[in-house]
Amino acid sequence: MNHLIKHRITRRQSLTLIGATLAAMMLPTAPLLANTGGIRQKTFAGTDKTLPVIGMGTWRTFNVGNDPQLLDARTEVVKAFFEHGGGLIDSSPMYGSAPDVMGYALQQLGTPESLFSAEKVWSPAGGSAREQVAELKSRWKVEHFDLVQVHNLTDWREHLAALQEMKAEGIIRHVGITTSHGRRHSEIEQIMTSEDIDFVQLTYNITHREAENRLLPLAEERNIGVIANRPYDGGSLIKNLKRRDAPLPEWAKEECGCTTWADFLLKFIVSHPAITCAIPATTQVEHMRENMRAGYAPMPSPDARKRMAAYIESL
């Protein structure tokens, strides 16, 4: 008991402690939560549901066929994604075996509650939208999809009508459309204006910001969630920065906690108010961890975003 007597709190210490506790209670709580509460979440599509701002793409990276060694390696990537609070995973029948690889990973890991499964229908894959969704569900080994999108607007009128029916029947939860590389933006704008869609997926990154002009403001106005694909411009953006040994600016660390180029590029994207999440793709567990860390606070302010874009342009 001697150690208790030795560490008995004095009256003065008690008063200090009470004072400190009261002072802490008076501090604004939101910024603290934002800094310590895990990956940032955003509400989407006018609902009160939220999605983590960093999702996961599967183009090229998850198309490994039935190679047992690579199937296990990709399962580790998915595991790291969920360990960091990941949610949205996006795939497509155009991505070869990627839906099967997701099915394998989910079978190995179990299906986490945070999973927000996003698929696509694509005319060259064959079959109606209903048939494609049914087949993809069996490949993913899931009961339902949270989101099904019309891939690259192929036969979008027919597919979107079928997806809306499936949403009404409760077979899928949300519907969307996709494009990439800045293609067909005027048609995307027309669909966002005239159709009742929950999500639009488009290319948005620090060097491809065309969507800022019309599509992102429209998405905010119409409560349409936005998924940003090609956040690293197909990998070339981050590879070029690393190859050129471009210095990460000190102010980016101070203003928004950027310690890697992944932080810099992804935080720029997801800090746009209209963007729901970005979907970087990777084959490496370490890169997945880097990507996920970018979803944590602090995020750049509007002024910091301008500075980030100017810095990249200056390189």
Partner: protein, 223 residues
Amino acid sequence: MNEWTSYRLQDFIPFTAEVYFRLLERIGETFWPLHLLTLALGAAALLLALKHRTRLACLLPAPLWAFVAVAFFFQRYAELNWAGGYVGNAFIAQAVLLALVALTGWGLDKASRATNLPVAIGIAITLFGLIIMPLIAPLSGGSWYQAEVFGIHADPTAVTTLGLVLIMLRGFALWLAAIIPALWLVVSGLTLQVLDSSGAVVLLAVLAIVLVGLVWKSIEFKR
């Protein structure tokens, strides 16, 4: 933005280099020691072609094209690339074409001489496909299972066949029998380029040399 000009070559290759080279290695592992038989068939086809027993020489590669269509394209590559089934069909068509030429004798060059330049190119290309191509991967530090072999893998099958048709065929039949292997070399060469593999240069160089042989032999045939 013009939609088509926004596409780049890598937009059409839906897998990474790691996956593609693992696929080639797994094919090698799965079918070993069938390689010995396919190489023997290739060598036999070359010897028969040089001895003017061209019908049999033309027939021998046909089942190997069908085998590559099924074992490589339909059963494996199509898992990675939705277009793989179409390429598999093209390989089946090549198998049928070679068999038809062998059975009918249409377009066979029964007087080819090794001293003739297009024929000499054909011999060199055939030997390159049969002997050098399988050695590239092991000599570059890879395992023997990564060796690409005639009758097992698509690239050496196409290269060797192009060499053989330069020796055995003439006229329209020569060009017809060269179309599918040549197109595959273009597709494969561009794929390897996207995957940052030096193999792209090798395939495209082979194709350029074959084209010289094809044009030369056609000019000679018209004289």
